[in-house]
Subunit: 465 residues, 2 copies
């Protein structure tokens, strides 16, 4: 029992290949090896690299060379590298390697990584890959594919370490030493009752610090987060962040343990959600994918610009109502974009702050009124300031006190409208279950353009003509 | 040696207080206890809650009641709750509790959490708090305060587990069981050479799965990331994300181990950086703080609007160059905002995509030209499409083929300019060491306004008059 264990079956590629080569050095050698189609050398270098670095190298290779690298790897290496690749690279891998080989690589992965790859394929490819995967793994994957997209069920991995309540620390350690089929990396051990429900958890640091005879019951932490299978990944990320979790149990309908979510997956989610909010606010639709092809990217931006065109035409229509005034006082045409532009920018500030606060769960139910008041006040203060500044500028330009006065008054009206609309729009969208990031700015600029032009040109028509 | 260890000194408040109360139930009882100033009950309930939930409760209390709750807690509880509070709450805590009591709470915290609290105070308060902290802890904190802001040195904690190379697994486990003064939670053990340099690392799962006589030298992973003290936190977050790290060694100038960064701190950084980019792009300056007071928030938004005003005036000046044309053909005033608006929006899409890609390190050195080409092409394609759509709309409106033609031509020019500027501006800002998120949109809208009005009004003047 106390002999050294010869076979330490933790993934040797990913973490302990000696690290003899720096990524930069390896990169030069690897380029030569790929050019020469030298499978042996490619394998040797890839084995010495962290798979994340290999994935980087793969992305920087010219497209026509990527197949050479991919085909040179055996299943275990391939699966490690693929788990660090983005969607575009993975689709290419399927194309280069064919279903059989990709399936054998996917079968090597943890459930969550395997799922991520399969999920991105179209229905037909999914089925072929699944068919080529060993039955046991396949069943697990098919089950996971039935959970709603972006749910905890999709994010979790099935491989975990769980032990019964009546064990002690010594038995647990012996079990860990004696079992080969454990996850690559784990941070806590779950303690299960007879019905497979988790009743406690033991962080590994705690297990290591406790002597062998101690009962698990006495050592385990009983206050821990259980994540339901159906929980949305955004909510999962929120829990991890709030409670500083490193891993968490996922439970089924009857409270039984079905999987574990680890922080590395959650980091990915946080990163993605933040990026998606950013892009959505700027009107780039769909999933974040910087390496997307030009045409797909053009399409991802087209529709927002299309809707925006109609917003702009609506603003033009407002202007056209006053074309008589403009013809008489052309200064109005010169100054009117200032009011609209300032409103659009102030409102975008507000929308962004509110969308971000919603994403961070910082606006609880009773707070909407408070936020509205604060934003309205900010709009009013900045409106007053910029009424003064813009009024002074226009006075030096045109020496017409009435024009300056109307410009300033329109500025106040539009900045208050901008901040009120910038608060109400995302909150209302959230209330009806829509995504506040994606449409808020369009509605907002409609408001600020229409109010801005209407206030300025309307007051000018009333007072100057 | 094999007796059960009575005292399991892992933080009992944070994680193992029984979890008897749900946060919602506790909240009602706690409200009553705070109203009655009932210290005993407050302590009992807080002890049963996760400190993250207590921090939430504190934030939702009316301001004048928060002092009651804070004063009821003893140092250990207080430090746990404070480590989950935001800046505004912490400043309030200092005000409510006074230096002495806050210092005793801060002394209980891990270096990184303590630092975060101290860092936010002004110079004078910092010095008073530091003076009230026990010498040993104080020296560590003062040292850490000397590292550059946002560096790995600020992010790391000093408490870690490190053992010499010549030990075996059994010795390491005995050391862990026999030492009281270990960090609350740790995920790997560092193996140090005689010069205190880390030569290997052992994830706890690996240590647990290895039998006692195995030499650490044989078990440890030698390929691991070492983070220099000076590394920027954004870079640290990038490494954690890229290599899916849970913790990482921080090394000093001579390669000696000085601390460890854990993933929970990095999650915070990722969250903050993403939020800051979002707010900066929208022109809200400074650190993200949704609970900031109205006046501070107004100020945070003022300067961007101020700069934007001059951009808008510049655009107005361009329009004023053509006021003669507008007076003759008032339709120009009606249609001109369409060109500027579409350019601004298309350019913002590009700026956002590029800023995000820079933050995600997706644009390597040689790629700038490729990105510029792609973006220019997207601008051209969308320009052609919207030239057609806008041309048709304006034709139905004004039945003037020349006006439609000029509107379309200006649209193409401005959308290409928008996408080229949207790429070049953030890349150039990054090149000169400026933050591409904060100023890009201002420069961009200057370009799209000036180019948009100039192209449309200029062509109209040349062809229509």
């Amino acid at each position: 029992l106390d002999e050294p264990l010869e076979d330490i079956s933790v993934d040797t590629i990913a973490s302990n290949a000696g690290g003899l080569l720096s990524p930069a050095l390896a990169s030069a050698d690897l380029t030569i090896a790929v050019d020469n189609n030298d499978t042996e050398t490619i394998r040797k270098i890839i084995a010495s690299l962290h798979p994340a670095d290999s994935a980087d190298f793969l992305r920087e290779l010219p497209i026509q060379k990527r197949g050479v690298l991919l085909r040179a790897l055996h299943a275990e290496m391939l699966s490690a590298v693929l788990s660090y690749c983005d969607e575009t690279l993975r689709e290419e891998a399927l194309y280069e390697l064919g279903v059989e080989k990709l399936a054998s690589a996917v079968a090597e992965l943890d459930t969550d990584d395997a799922l991520e790859i399969i999920d991105e394929l179209d229905e037909e490819d999914q089925q072929s890959i699944l068919a080529a995967i060993p039955t046991e793994d396949r069943i697990v994957l098919q089950q996971a594919l039935n959970y709603p997209e972006s749910s905890a069920g999709r994010l979790m991995q099935r491989d975990l370490v769980a032990v019964p309540t009546h064990w002690n620390v010594g038995q647990t350690i012996d079990f860990l030493r004696g079992t080969d089929d454990l996850p690559d990396d784990f941070y806590e051990i779950f303690v299960l009752d007879a019905k497979h429900k988790p009743v406690g958890t033991i962080p590994l640091s705690r297990l290591l610090r406790t002597r062998r005879p101690a009962e698990l019951k006495a050592v385990m932490l009983t206050d821990f987060r259980k994540i339901p299978l159906q929980m949305d990944q955004e909510e999962v990320a929120f829990l991890f962040r709030k409670y500083s979790l490193v891993s968490a149990a996922v439970v089924g309908e009857n409270g039984e343990l079905v999987g574990v979510i680890t922080v590395d997956d959650v980091v990915q989610v946080i990163q993605e959600e933040a990026g998606e909010d950013l892009l959505k606010l700027a009107g780039v639709s769909g999933q974040e994918d910087f390496y997307r092809a030009t045409f797909a990217e053009t399409k991802a931006r087209f529709w927002w610009l299309f809707v925006n065109l109609f917003t702009a035409v609506l603003a033009s229509w407002v202007i056209s109502l006053f074309d008589g005034s403009i013809q008489k006082i052309v200064v109005l045409a010169v100054l009117m974009p200032i009011v609209a532009s300032m409103g659009g920018n102030a409102g975008t500030q507000t929308v962004t702050v509110v969308v971000r606060a919603l994403a961070m769960r910082q606006i609880s139910k009773g707070m909407a009124k408070k936020v509205l008041l604060k934003e309205g006040l900010i709009g009013l203060i900045n409106g007053l300031m910029f009424a003064a500044v813009a009024g002074i500028i226009s006075w030096f330009w045109y020496h017409d006190a009435w024009v300056s006065f109307i410009l300033g008054a329109a500025m106040i009206v539009n900045l208050v409208a901008a901040n009120v609309a910038g608060t109400v729009i995302p909150l209302a969208l959230r209330k009806i279950g829509a995504d506040p990031a994606i449409a808020s700015v369009i509605f907002l600029t409609t408001v600020t353009d229409v109010v801005g032009f209407f206030a300025f040109l309307g007051m000018a028509t009333a007072f100057l003509l």
